[in-house]
Symmetry: C2
Subunit: 240 residues, 2 copies
């Protein structure tokens, strides 16, 4: 039976980390909210009165009777089933740890354009956004990318993957993080990326994998836009 | 062998969610950074050159050869070992999902006093903090607590626990969240809590559990203070 993915239909957002894992594995899945009636189905599952274990927010995944929310938790569930995570406990905990760290920088990237409140327009927090983006570019991107670069460097199986010698869902998520940061902060990333050569190389290798390359060219890949987590606001890219 | 917990010695912070699980289970553990030489030991483990799978940040847990970071990931690991989580896969994923949602509101509580940058003093982002705290109190606390109240209400085994009929690490974490929110936003919580009677009752029951009650009275429980995640700044409590 096909997996059912529930996520906002117009953006890559956090759902994209799940889509990339499903695409790389060639798994059958239904991107429910992108088809007619899908948004209502998503809302029903979020309604606690009809769901024993309701999600707080999208994305969430339905696999038969199992309903799982929180992006990293979905990948924890899928990783072993799709062959995209180590099978030993220490290995899958390490993969999950890396994914949670990627989730942290994704949250911070979101807050560069919404430092005050998700409920307000960007235009109503633009000044604060410039301050926050300046710190994000100057301190946070280098700190996080420095960490992942070192993880690649110290992988005893070689620096082509974050873990071991086979592609895993964290590699796919790191690819997506770099794609998003390049979209949101092209000037800053042009300047910063030469210090993180292993990450850049991993990004290129993931983009070239046959299923990922086909996905990126397909209509299933939603373009980056200014409703998602990564947004192109030139004034924020320059804010450092 | 005792667990080794590594976390900043002067604050409850995110480490407290791990401490509460260890305390409730009566597990032997060493709060490493609180003893002489402990900070240097913590720093060594964070240094990628000496650690195969380095943490990005504290807290982290060492259990023999296993080193695990990210608060929710540590609880995922400990939960089943300490008898504080369901044993079936769907159950422990559900517990982890709830914990990740608690982690999200904890991050947002932190950002009420640091909406611009963790690297700046509170005093240098006080105006932005007031704006963010206002939204947190008006919209985010009610949204999250409404969610957890519904989860308690819809637990088929009764509303005394978030999951099933036995205490689990999410119950302990929800206790800690409420304690922290009351410390940081006493006025707001006095007004809001009557709408979340099941959560308040759970907080009282957890506080009264023998091992937790003993822990809260002990010197091992660090007092809330203005270096932690939850901070008492009256101007933020009034910011709504």
């Amino acid at each position: 039976m096909a997996y059912e993915l529930y996520y906002w239909p117009g953006i890559q957002g956090r759902g994209e980390f799940v889509r990339l894992a499903l695409e790389e594995a060639g798994a059958e899945y239904d991107d429910v909210a992108r088809r007619s009636g899908g948004m209502a189905a998503m809302q029903r599952l979020m309604d606690a009165s009809g769901t024993a274990r309701p999600p707080f927010a999208p994305p969430f995944l339905k696999d038969g009777e199992v309903l799982i929310a929180q992006t990293a938790n979905i990948l924890l569930y899928l990783g072993r089933r799709l062959g995209l995570a180590p099978r030993d406990e220490a290995g899958w905990l390490w993969a999950h740890q890396l994914q949670l760290t990627i989730a942290d920088i994704v949250d911070e990237a979101h807050d560069t354009h919404h430092p005050i409140a998700s409920s307000l327009y960007y235009e109503d927090q633009r000044a604060e956004a410039q301050r926050r983006a300046g710190d994000f570019i100057a301190r946070r991107i280098p700190k996080y990318l420095g960490y992942f670069e070192r993880v690649l460097e110290h992988n005893s199986q070689g620096d082509h993957h974050l873990i071991g010698r086979r592609v895993n869902y964290c590699d796919l998520s790191l690819f997506q993080l770099i794609a998003g940061l390049r979209y949101a902060f092209p000037r800053a990333m042009t300047r910063l990326e030469p210090s993180f050569a292993r990450i850049t190389a991993l990004h290129e290798r993931i983009a070239a994998r046959p299923r990922i390359a086909a996905y990126l060219k397909s209509a299933r890949r939603i373009a980056f836009n200014e409703q998602g987590v990564f947004r192109s606001y030139p004034e924020l890219d320059a804010a450092n």
